[in-house]
Amino acid sequence: MILISDNLYTYLILAVFLLIAGIYGLIQHKTFIGMLVSTELILNGAGINFMAFNRFLAPDPAIGQIITLFIMGIAAAEAAIVVSFIIAVFRKYHSIDPDDVMELKG
């Protein structure tokens, strides 16, 4: 009997679910924070993907874990940068609506 938790496809489909949830939220949210949160979902989907390939296909299980740790570091750095960016934008525009920030728009 094949266990569901021991099957590559389960994890890949889970990662796809996280990715589409992230894409949906990225388009549908109306604030910078909401968009950032959706990006984190997408990055987690990528992490699950790497870990699944690492568990089922890769010759050396350290590689996938290292890539996932790298993704975590990138996500943390990105969150810090974007939050400070949001604070700077809020100070200048007094708004959290991405549509208000259009000074570069022609």
Binding site: S5, L18, F56, A62, T68, A80, I86, R91
Partner: protein, 204 residues
Amino acid sequence: MTFYQYIAEGLFFVFVLLIMAGSFITIRARILMHTVLGLAVAFLGVAGIYFYLGSMFLTLMQILIYVGAVCIVLIFGIMVGSTPTEIAEKTIKDRKNIFLAVSAAAAAFFLLMISILKTEWVPAAAQVRDFSAEHLGESFLYQYCLAFELISVILLIAIVGAIILAREGREQDDKNPWAAPIRGPAHVKELTSVTEENKGDPLA
């Protein structure tokens, strides 16, 4: 299948359910704080999935970094960057984005599902089954030390960049921080407690 395997399978579905519920709250909640709390729930589910994929270390790192650090930073961002009325995502624009969002998500779903199901996944011929933290640390510091150094540099640059970005425009406040004018939309002034009586009071 033994009794314990049933329990393990059940727990797996609990984690999957956590991910689904968390991401549903994340993308559908209208209050930003709820969004971040849903994200924390989804992160906990992903941590459980990492456990099922064999890595205890990454489970702990997921909880520590994502739930413990990233979510807190996001909550700080909500509290600092938004005024109380704006913490709820008000209807800035109408819901015309829904159609766009659903179609983009559906397109991504079908494209990826097709490629997942059509690809034949071949495991590597010889697999090392060593998921221990020792093996991970050794690989990290010998074979893949470029990733290790790179992530430290990225984090350093991110810290410096975050400070530089967020400091801009702060200088005017330095003279009299307690009585600094509240620079926000007009309705913020009513909500704060700075009045003529407690103007110099740091706790006001």
